[in-house]
């Protein structure tokens, strides 16, 4: 059985959906493409009393529009549509790379949505397992218990990780999400939207729905996403890096940001490291320095919560950072 004892609703417009969610609160979950929710539901990691399907809201909540220096993408836009859209390809090449790297063409790409990707739950080698597998170990922090299996005795909180490719790139781009509820709408930067707590990864009320994401796309900006995974399709990142760099007319860096994925419960922003690029012309040497610094800042976050060893992932951190930064710089140079 996919879901046990679960009601199903498919409201026909946004206000109906928000009213319903406001009434049901945390008892109900949103269902978009289902590629994150359904595996968790089948593993009984989430046991909703009801699902509220968004299938009739696709027209209302999807599409891509330009708004001056920003691009706005509706939450129900499919990954294939968002990643392949001309505006996104031209103005946000890193986002195209990130979205195209998700899942498989016959699954996530067509039914998975950008909103769902941002809201994909954090994962851990010891959490995303069947109920039977988990019955052999004590419940962890994310399941309301008091232990973190990969973290060991010294860890006092959940150390599951954000494995959304889209969210990591969007965080590097400084994107903001808008959250709608029956009482209005609010906008949050991704840095606020992600709590960094594995137990509760998102700043989101039960009544709210992430309905769109607004992404700054200033002139002279280049972006890139570099992901290491076991296979090209299907797999989550073992580690990934997202970079966004802005150059002025002389080729001097005016803004730089770098985020690592597959490391921490939120996209891991390495502001200190990337800030060193601002105000200078950056070549391979500067990029390598920033990448090295980023790798050492990320070091404490690596634990054995993924299928690849923490030590190897830590070694790969500066490598992916360097590749993403180099490509983002090249993309930015092509735009000035």
């Amino acid at each position: 059985m996919g879901l046990k004892d679960c009601e199903y609703f498919a409201p026909s417009n946004l206000s109906e959906a928000l009213d319903l969610k406001a009434r049901m609160g945390a008892d109900a979950v949103w269902l978009a493409g289902g590629t994150d929710l359904m595996p968790r539901a089948r593993n009984r990691l989430v046991n909703p009393k009801a699902v509220i399907s968004l299938k009739k809201l696709v027209q209302e909540l999807s599409g891509i529009e330009e708004d001056g220096d920003a691009v706005i993408i509706g939450a129900l836009t499919s990954l294939a549509e968002a990643g392949g859209h001309q505006t996104v390809c031209e103005r946000l090449p890193g986002l195209t790379q990130a979205l195209k790297s998700i899942g498989a063409p016959t699954l996530q790409q067509r039914v998975g949505t950008i909103g769902g990707n941002i809201c994909a739950d954090t994962r851990c080698l010891y959490y995303n397992q069947s109920a039977f597998w988990r019955s052999g170990v004590a419940p962890c922090f994310k399941l309301g218990g008091e232990v973190c299996h990969p973290g060991g005795a010294t860890v006092d909180r959940c150390r599951s990780i954000c494995q959304s490719d889209g969210a990591v790139m969007l965080a590097a781009l400084g994107a903001r999400v808008s959250l709608a509820s029956d009482s209005g709408e609010r906008e949050l930067g991704l840095d606020e939207f992600f709590t960094g707590r594995g137990e509760e990864p998102f700043t989101m009320e039960p009544a709210e729905l992430l309905n769109k994401v607004k992404i700054p796309a200033p002139k002279g900006q280049g972006s890139a996403y570099y992901k290491v995974a076991a296979r090209k399709a299907i797999d989550y990142p073992l580690i990934s890096a997202a970079a966004a760099v802005c150059l002025d007319a002389d080729g001097v860096v005016t803004k730089a940001s770098l985020a690592l994925g597959g490391v921490y419960a939120a996209p891991l922003m390495l502001k200190d490291a990337s800030q060193a690029m601002v105000g200078q012309k950056c070549g391979p040497k500067e990029v390598a320095d920033v990448a090295r610094k980023a790798g050492s800042h990320a070091q404490p976050f690596f634990i054995e919560n993924q299928s690849a060893p923490a030590e190897w992932r830590a070694e790969m951190a500066p490598v992916v950072a360097k590749r993403a930064l180099t490509e983002a710089l090249a993309a930015a140079k092509g735009k000035i």
């Binding site: 199903y8 498919a10 289902g34 595996p39």
Partner: protein, 163 residues
């Protein structure tokens, strides 16, 4: 708590089907257990292997990750619907002739994904085929023969189109 069954109505392989189902049932469960359409297989149950892929309104979906009610009112195509009765489609025939089938467990998914590709792109190159099938796992044939079969089906389609 007992949950009220809901009515489920959809075109399945061109036939209108009306059932009462549990809202939590997946499309794969409805197809296999209620309708006896056991062509689609459950491999992994978490969307990784692709063996349960069916088309809903022309779009490939994993049967194991799709609530049946998501397909309510839609048009579902499974491997049984690729050709009428006990006949096989040119694509299925190509799979047989090229030896793209061994144990056959991945085949329904491979076929549905390839079918969808050929609908969209009648003459795909190797890269497009590999890309389309990248979410599908086969543990027997090593993929080369499957890719060859899709190519040969595309060729057959092209020559038949000319006649």
């Amino acid at each position: 708590m007992s949950i009220n069954e809901k009515s489920f109505k959809a075109q399945i392989n061109g036939e209108l089907v009306e059932l009462r189902i549990n809202p939590g049932e997946t499309l794969l469960e409805v197809l296999r257990e209620r309708l006896g359409l056991t062509g689609s297989k459950e491999g992994c149950g978490e969307g990784v292997c692709g063996a349960c892929t069916v088309l809903v309104d022309g779009i490939p979906r994993r049967g194991c990750l799709t609530l049946a009610l998501e397909a309510e009112g839609g048009d579902v195509l499974t491997v049984e619907g690729l050709a009428p009765g006990r006949k096989v489609s040119p694509l299925q025939k190509a799979f047989v002739l090229e030896g793209a089938i061994q144990c056959g467990f991945c085949s329904p998914g491979m076929l549905m994904a390839s079918h969808e590709l050929l609908q969209r792109e009648p003459n795909p190159d190797t890269e497009a085929i590999m890309n389309q099938l990248s979410g599908h796992i086969c543990r027997c044939t090593g993929y080369a023969k499957i890719i060859q079969a899709v190519k040969s089906a595309a060729d057959t389609q092209a020559t038949e189109g000319c006649k």
